[in-house]
Subunit: 348 residues, 2 copies
């Protein structure tokens, strides 16, 4: 079992998980989909190799166990956190605090196809992945020890992934991560001050000038944020105010799948299959019904290395302006628009 330790000087928690050192690494250059085989006999996520992963906790299609799977969710074989036990117990030795590494660390295998990244999937397949995300989110939040659930995706070696087969991960922790703690505090403070949601106000302000808007559909806005940390950082924000990804109406997941796939496809085209990290930012499990937060998706291409200054200070240096990259993304999105896939209609 791993352990969580808190740095007394920053109050940040670190997961110490020596077991993870043993995980396999497929360290080859990231290739475009057409250069990869659709099936790799050595890949634990490929069809026929299901016995190389721990037992499924979810699959699609749900009903017919005999049918070939379309999406599988399995515990991470080299889990940073594991279920069971008391996540609230803290051992203190004067300045040092630690707790057992309770929680969950799961892998969402997005497709049986070894060489179909999300940017190239069908809308239907992306929707199935989103259904799996939401299903696991809503199942895990029922565990009282779990305070916080992050769903994320690392694509490409520069993003820190160790396997090429399209997959996402879910980590559920008994603590709130420091980055999110700050984000929640700020959103909560704004709500207390203004009586309104910070993200709803942000959307309204962004839509007025539409300088950084990439696309705008009935339910979603895609934009390059004002203080983008990296070139082509892209946020997908639902227009409907909703604190938790778990509570977002599932009838909108089909539209989200279209928006997400088209966004990733445009990044794939413009940046030639870039490495990226994708994160779903959602509120803490006990505050799902509270009005202050607004879930959204962040996509951060990893074309530059995070250097000492960024790492040490938390100040990022970005060499491009979001107003300029948004224009380039809009051009790409517009070409999809013509075939009716996504609409770009900045307001006013």
């Amino acid at each position: 079992m791993s352990e969580l330790r808190q740095d007394p000087t920053t109050k940040a928690w670190v997961i110490l998980a020596p077991e993870r050192a043993k995980r396999p690494q497929q360290r080859q250059k990231m290739r475009r989909a057409e250069e990869l085989p659709s099936w790799d006999p050595t890949c634990p996520f490929c069809l026929g190799n299901e016995d190389q992963t721990p037992a499924e906790v979810f699959r699609l299609p749900v009903v017919d166990k005999g049918s070939p799977w379309e999406v599988r969710v399995v515990p991470n074989r080299f889990a940073a956190l594991e279920p069971g036990g008391d996540g609230t117990m803290i051992e203190e030795e004067r300045l040092f605090r630690k707790r057992a590494g309770i929680g969950a660390h799961e892998v969402i295998i997005e497709t049986p196809s070894h060489n179909t990244p999300m940017a190239l999937m069908t809308y239907e397949q992306v929707e199935k992945v989103l259904i799996a995300y939401q299903e696991r989110y809503n199942t895990l939040k029922k565990n009282g020890h779990i305070k916080f659930i992050t769903i994320f995706k690392n694509h490409g070696w520069a993003s820190g992934t160790s396997l090429v087969h399209p997959h996402s991960q879910l980590v559920a922790t008994p603590i709130v991560a420091p980055y999110y703690h700050r984000e929640f505090d700020i959103a909560h403070g704004y709500y207390v001050d203004m009586g309104r949601c910070l993200y709803c106000d942000l959307l309204a302000q962004e839509l007025e000038k539409a300088e950084r808007i990439v696309a705008h559909t009935e339910q979603f806005v895609v934009l390059h944020p004002y203080a983008s940390r990296a070139p082509y950082e892209t946020w997908i924000i639902p227009q409907m105010h909703c604190a938790s990804f778990g509570l977002f109406p599932d009838m909108y997941l089909a539209e989200l799948a279209r928006v997400l796939k088209d966004t990733l496809f445009c990044l794939y085209q413009r940046l030639d299959n870039p490495a990226f990290n994708l994160m779903i930012d959602s509120t803490i499990t006990e505050d799902e019904e509270d009005p202050y937060y607004h879930w959204h998706i962040r996509i951060i291409p990893r074309q530059t290395t995070i250097a000492g200054f960024e790492m040490g200070s938390g100040i990022y240096i970005n060499t491009t302006l979001p107003e300029e990259t948004a224009v380039l993304m809009r051009e790409c999105v517009s070409s999809l628009c013509e075939v009716g896939r996504i609409s770009v209609e900045p307001e006013a």
Copy 2:
């Protein structure tokens, strides 16, 4: 001129510096020193190429301008921040805040030798680099617009460096970086609560059991921190309580040079010339005389990529225990010890 923009959802500042996109990149595999030439005609930091950098703001030896230089400090040609102008002016447009990119961004060229990294320098040369650090720190802090000065070093491509010639950087900002803001708040809160310095207490506790101590000299303790974010993360903490690197007595810089060089040499040996980031954590310029903070050096080897989870959440997953890596580092340090370079004497 670049600009600083604040993300309204995290209050983090980003430096938008399109000029930096033009900087040169020497993207070859990081080679061991013996595989590199000692002089590279295309390197802007090599002897004879001084006209490829902006004019020196500091040099050693100081006095004889005709003598060959040993250390040079120059403004970064692709500076993220520039001096002059009013750093306190904030332009607000409802949720969005920006200010001019006022400050300084300098390069410390550590040696004329293209292929002598700090791990392989003489103690005397490392001391000269430290003298240059302190000199620039103390000069820039006099600028009233500058609130915070970070000195850091990126070694190896995986650390985000773009040039191989041994160099460090200094960034002086009109804002306090969010990571440090948190660290200062915590140290200040501890001082208010306990009437003591958090770092002095941390050193006392670490020295008692000595599980994570790598080396211990008259003035410095080298340790692997309790909640290490990465394998072989190493801190060098002065035993003397002092908030600011700028106010640290210069008579101790020779000892710091020995400790720093030997620490980097052991990392070089054990991890085969790893990429790393080195940061000097020092208080904000206006609080130099205040008792709550304690300057120190952090060295973070970059053997794994920072992935989506770490980047999104601020929770790092480390697959090694600092107690185990400290033992391995101690073995290496002890071998130096025999030749009298560093002493390891954990207390009782």
